[in-house]
């Protein structure tokens, strides 16, 4: 379950025959460009193929024409005017191609737009568990990072390829009219180079594979030295002795492995490329020399012209073969894009919108992460009713965050049931349900968007929206008059593409995320350690505001600081994936169990303001 997306893609992979897959993927890539802009694709192909075809004219036909003129002593003016006309034609082509450069620069963003609007449209249907599978990242994220540039590259190379093939065929036809035997000298190297080209490809692939690990090591070491976050430690410790050693070993190994593979590669490349120069070059000369000297050839000039024609067409042929390899490799990316965009994802059957959330109940829920060996949650039961404030507390790694993800329906449970207003969570419209939550996660994200949009999560439509965002930020204890906010609420929260952007500290990022909840006014607020980076005053005020503003609604929060937990109506104490204690603060304190122990540990240093007898009780606890 939950992996519908991945299994769907397997099916489509099998249905795609391997043989014609390259053309299919290429066609798919070109289709993206075509759909983005009707003129860009034909224009690209024209620009990149016309030049080669013109070359056939100049290097093969024209050369032959001139040589014939000289041999037959035809008037110079004819040759001259012929040249003028040909060159004017060429200039015209230049003009078209020149403007293509401008056109491409303007239209490239359209290809981006086309592809990613579709990605954005379908991102809704992708499950969270799909996102988290490493396969998803390897296959799709990488494909999506590069696909727009790649689609353009592919259309350019397709144009070049078409030009290469066209030019080869045209020059072959011309060669054929002079002497069909000459073709032999081109077909043989073609076959030879295809064969060794494949071998070479395999060898290169094997080399890449053999050095992957060492390369990753070397890249990692590089990163350590150039990322700012490592800078202080590098200066304070002798990290050089660990890292540079690793790098040296990796690099030496990489050089050694590469050399072995590359020497093999050199041999294949020699056979591949040498076969052209040897067969199409030298061997053809032997034949021509033989014909000219021994056979009664009437027009020597044509034969001489054919020698340069063959050099030209082998060059084209060589490029065609290289381009084919490029097209093949590059279009592989589009199989992943195809799968991503075109796989029929099981449309969620329209499920009832649950409306306002009144109760959430977990019955005996257990959960194991896909691929994990042990259960993260075991037999957890839990009930929340509208207006209640629940706290989840516990040790590091007790499964608190997982519990929250489950009750929001982000993962399907492994066993047990989750009921929302009495209905099973699988039977309701999940997206509509989740929209009713306001959540702050531990690993929260702020976006490189203006601050106001980071709070509202939409574009503000007027002054009221700015006021709403400002108030939410103030409630979250965010200092809106911070000097870093150069453009006030319109400051972009990131320096990624704006030098005047604002880089929030950990605490400020948390406050922004909390402000989102204040601005949204959801049915249910979920806070996963929202205050870990806040200072005590900010934390205190934030909690106070949160409790005040969400009166009558629900709050579920995770906290390590039990002083905050006691603001809750009910506290769930978790340990090793189980709920070990629950009840109100007073009840749990009376129980003298885990909660009591934790609370007293934290309270130790505040004891001054505690009554005498409790002080003594605490002392007893520590002995």
């Amino acid at each position: 379950m939950g992996n519908k997306f991945l299994t769907g893609e397997c099916r489509s992979m099998n249905s795609m025959k391997k043989k014609d897959s390259m053309w299919r993927q290429l066609r798919y890539a070109l289709r993206q460009v075509w759909e983005a802009d009707r003129l860009l694709l034909p224009f690209t192909i024209f620009k990149n193929s016309i030049e080669q075809i013109f070359y056939v004219f100049f290097f093969v036909y024209l050369t032959k024409y001139i040589f014939n003129c000289i041999e037959r002593n035809i008037a110079y003016s004819r040759l001259f005017w012929f040249l003028i006309v040909a060159c004017l034609g060429h200039v015209c082509v230049h003009f078209i191609c020149g403007w293509y450069e401008t056109y491409r620069k303007i239209k490239m963003p359209e290809v981006y737009r086309h592809i990613f609007h579709r990605v954005m449209d379908i991102s809704d249907t992708i499950e969270l568990s799909d996102y988290e599978s490493p396969e998803f990242y390897d296959k799709y994220a990488r494909a999506l990072d590069r696909c727009a540039e790649s689609a353009i590259d592919l259309s350019i190379q397709t144009g070049v390829y078409i030009g290469n093939v066209g030019a080869t065929i045209m020059s072959l036809v011309i060669v054929l009219t002079v002497d069909p035997v000459l073709l032999v000298f081109m077909v043989i190297p073609m076959v030879v180079s295809l064969y060794f080209g494949k071998k070479n490809g395999k060898c290169n692939y094997a080399r890449e594979k053999a050095i992957t690990r060492d390369k990753r090591t070397a890249d990692y070491v590089k990163r350590v030295y150039y990322e700012k976050k490592y800078a202080s430690e590098i200066r304070l410790f002798d990290i050089n002795s660990i890292m540079l050693d690793k790098q040296e070993k990796a690099v030496e190994e990489m050089g050694r492995i590469s050399l072995t593979y590359r020497m093999k590669s050199a041999f294949y490349s020699f056979l591949m490329k040498g076969s052209y120069s040897i067969l199409a070059g030298i061997a053809a000369y032997f034949y021509v020399a033989f014909r000219v000297k021994n056979g009664g050839v009437t027009d020597v000039s044509s034969y001489v012209a054919m020698i340069s024609a063959m050099a030209f067409s082998t060059d084209q042929l060589k490029h065609a073969v290289e381009n084919r390899i490029f097209l093949n490799n590059e279009s592989r990316l589009f199989r992943n894009l195809y799968e991503f965009l075109e796989t029929e994802r099981p449309r969620q059957a329209a499920k009832p919108d649950i409306g306002e959330i009144r109760t959430i109940e977990l019955q005996d829920v257990s959960f194991t992460y896909p691929g994990a060996s042990g259960e993260t949650l075991r037999n957890v039961s839990f009930l929340w009713k509208k207006g209640e404030k629940l706290a989840i507390v516990g040790y590091n790694g007790a499964g608190k965050t997982t519990l929250i993800k489950l009750l929001m329906g982000l993962y399907p449970v492994t066993s047990g049931r989750i009921l929302v207003n009495g209905t099973d969570i699988g039977e309701i419209d999940g997206n509509a349900y989740r929209k009713r939550f306001g959540t702050v996660f531990q690993d929260l994200q702020v976006f490189a968007l203006p601050l106001v949009e980071n709070v509202l999560m939409r574009r503000p439509s007027g002054q009221e929206d700015y006021d709403l965002a400002r108030q939410a930020l103030l409630d979250a204890q965010f200092d809106v008059s911070h000097p870093g906010l150069v453009k006030a609420l319109d400051t972009i929260v990131s320096r990624e593409f704006d030098e005047e952007g604002f880089i929030p500290s950990g605490g400020q990022a948390q406050k922004i995320a909390i402000a989102r909840v204040f601005a949204q006014q959801p049915d249910m607020v979920i806070l996963d350690e929202p205050s870990s980076a806040l200072d005590p005053l900010a934390e205190y005020n934030m909690y106070n505001n949160m409790m005040r503003l969400s009166k009558g609604r629900g709050v579920v929060f995770i906290s390590h600081r039990l002083s905050s937990a006691r603001m809750a109506d009910q506290i769930y104490m978790m340990k090793d994936g189980c709920v070990v204690e629950h009840g109100s603060h007073e009840e749990l304190m009376e129980k003298r169990g885990h909660y009591y122990e934790m609370f007293m540990l934290q309270a130790e240093n505040y004891q001054e303001s505690l009554p005498e007898e409790l002080l003594r009780g605490a002392e007893a606890f520590y002995e």
Binding site: L83, S123, N240, Q247
Partner: protein, 612 residues
């Protein structure tokens, strides 16, 4: 429109590096590479030149003899001899070309590795302040990351350009033997090409920089839709709306750059194409050859054919040199920045001087202030603190009050911009930086876990025999013992999956414990321990154990705690409350509580909820 035009001009001016500078930069890079492995560099360059000139000789001179033989009355036998010579030459040269190509690529890997290592070491000696200047950091981090490739590329490109030029000379010499005027066309073409090509690349580069800048925004906006770390927020909120709008706007801006830079580029390209290709090679050469053969009748068919061949050969070579020139420009441009980087003189990190005495000294800050480069305000101002040996000091305050900067000043990661810090009676700037830092150990809020074994992560240096017991002891004290026992390889367990599939990824709390254990290592030199928010990711039980252990461990050492949890600061001998980079209150816990000021207010707020 005029506005955008002037903007364009400004941009072009900014990026202007003269050709001479570029050549100078590339030469510098070659010399730099030569310092590491001169024989390799020389071998690659000489072989390339030999190879390309050999090929040029075959493609022009020998070819000319063959063609003349075919059209003239040379005997079949002599033509065969020529062809055989050519065959042998082609086989050898092709073989050499492939070998050289692959061999050089493999040999350059360890060389690049060595260069990268040296740069890394050099980089680690740069003053930390370097990183706080966003401009130098952005540019130079990128540049030095690419330095190894860059230097390898410089070797390849330069040898190709020299080889290509030699080949051109060979071909031109051949053309000269037929008719000197004929040689003018390729030369004219070459010159026009050189002039316009640089211009074209300059415009293209400027466009590309601007385009990428705009596209970065679009790239970011779309990445959010499929990157796992954003998935939760995307599913739970409507953030996709504004992101999509931002994406569209960024693309419109990117297209605008094309409208600005496209037209000038097109015009210069047209000049280049029409003159270099159409006029100087397609038109002029055949027309002139035809004129010689048909009107003047000074040359025969064989010479026309070989001249034509040679001209084509020249054109092909020009094309290749073109590509190399583009690379050359890129390298020249990057090289400029790299050279600046290589010549950066660090100040703090290499500072030599006194070695602090063995026993713990007093740390005295008097009127210290500090301002980050390119900022308007002091991050710290007028801080005066005296810390006697063995004292336990707490620094408390809100986020952004300057606590972490304070720590960095104490460790001399930055130098103060006003006032002074002294240790054991000497200004810390009088000490040898390395020796001074040995006296202090620190755990930072933003600690890192490295792709290395647990033991190496604790020591942050090479593990030697006999270190094991000490590491385990330190980890136990940092409350990592339970986790350590669950790992079959113990302290030899590799951390992170960066490049080791069997690596272990630690949770935030576990990672923090590893970082904390660094303070528990036995260390004779240490006199001062600094703990910057050491327990932020820990649960209360771990936090409690940690605090107890830290105090016990410190013994006679000076300890400086940075925290915003006041419960951990009560055990301090003295507490300093920072606000907006200044000390606003100081004293013992009791004194501060009595004072009824800001500290009291904070403490009460926190304590309030711990009343049972």
């Amino acid at each position: 429109m005029s506005n955008t035009a002037s903007r364009r001009k400004d941009k072009l001016k900014e990026e202007r590096i003269t050709i001479r500078q570029m050549i100078g930069n590339v030469t510098y890079l070659l010399k730099y590479a030569g310092k590491y492995d001169r024989p390799l560099i020389l071998r690659i360059m000489i072989l390339n030149i030999l190879l390309l000139s050999g090929m040029a000789a075959n493609d022009t001179f020998i070819l000319k003899m063959i063609i003349n033989g075919l059209t003239g009355d040379m005997s079949f036998y002599r033509i065969m001899v020529l062809l055989l010579i050519s065959l042998v030459l082609v086989v050898i040269l092709e073989w050499m070309r492939q070998m050289l190509n692959e061999w050089a690529q493999a040999k350059l890997i360890p060389l690049s590795g060595r260069i990268q290592r040296d740069l890394a070491e050099k980089n680690s000696l740069k003053d930390l302040i370097f990183y706080d200047d966003p401009e130098s950091y952005d540019t130079y981090a990128v540049v030095s990351q690419r330095a190894d490739e860059l230097i390898a590329d410089a070797v390849t490109v330069v040898s190709k350009i020299i080889g290509g030029t030699v080949a051109l000379l060979v071909a031109s010499a051949m053309i000269l033997t037929i008719d000197p005027v004929l040689a003018l066309f390729p030369i004219a073409g070459f010159l026009v090409n050189l002039a316009t090509r640089f211009k074209i690349e300059k415009i293209n580069y400027t466009w590309w920089v601007e385009y990428r800048k705009k596209l970065r925004k679009a790239d970011y906006s779309k990445r959010v839709f499929y990157q796992p770390e954003f998935a939760k927020e995307c599913k739970l909120t409507d953030v996709r709306g504004p992101l999509r709008l931002q994406f569209d706007e960024a693309l419109d801006e990117a297209a605008e750059e094309g409208r600005i830079y496209g037209p000038p580029l097109t015009w210069v390209s047209l000049v280049n194409w029409i003159s270099v290709f159409t006029i100087f090679s397609f038109f002029a050469i055949p027309a002139y050859l035809g004129y010689l053969a048909l009107v003047l009748k000074s040359i025969a068919l064989g010479e026309v054919a070989s001249a034509n061949n040679a001209a084509n050969y020249v054109r092909r070579n020009l094309n290749e040199i073109n590509y190399c020139l583009v690379d050359f420009q890129v390298i020249g441009r990057y090289g400029d920045k790299l050279i600046k980087l290589l010549e950066y003189e660090p100040n703090i990190e290499v500072a030599d001087g006194l070695t602090p005495a063995k026993e713990t000294g007093a740390l005295v800050l008097s009127h210290v202030s500090f301002r980050y480069p390119h900022t308007e305000e002091d991050t710290l101002s007028d801080i005066s603190i005296e810390i006697r040996p063995g004292e336990k000091i707490a620094i408390v305050g809100e986020n952004g009050a300057g606590k972490t900067t304070f720590v960095k000043l104490l460790m001399r990661l930055y130098d103060v911009t006003g006032g002074s810090i002294s240790y054991a009676g000497h200004d810390i700037r009088e000490y040898n930086t390395r020796q001074y830092r040995k006296k202090i150990s620190a755990v930072f809020q933003d600690y890192n876990i490295y792709a290395a074994t647990i033991a190496e992560n604790v020591l942050l240096r090479k593990v030697e025999d006999g270190d094991e017991a000490e590491i385990v002891r330190a980890l136990e004290k940092a409350d990592f013992g339970r986790k350590l026992r669950s790992l079959p390889e113990g302290i030899r367990t590799p951390l992170t999956r960066e490049f080791d599939e069997s690596g272990v990824n630690l949770s935030g709390g576990e990672g923090q414990k590893i970082a904390i254990s660094r303070v528990f290592l036995h260390n004779d030199d240490r006199a001062v321990s600094i703990l910057d928010e050491p327990s932020s990711a820990l649960d209360p039980v771990s936090e409690y154990k940690l605090n107890k252990n830290l105090i016990e461990n410190a013994g006679e050492n000076t300890v400086i705690f940075i925290s915003h949890r006041l419960s951990t600061t009560r055990m301090a001998d003295r507490i300093y409350l920072f606000e907006h980079g200044r000390i606003i209150e100081e004293g013992t816990h009791d004194e501060l509580m009595k004072r009824n000021g800001r500290y009291r207010e904070m403490f009460d707020r926190q304590a309030h909820n711990y009343l049972v």
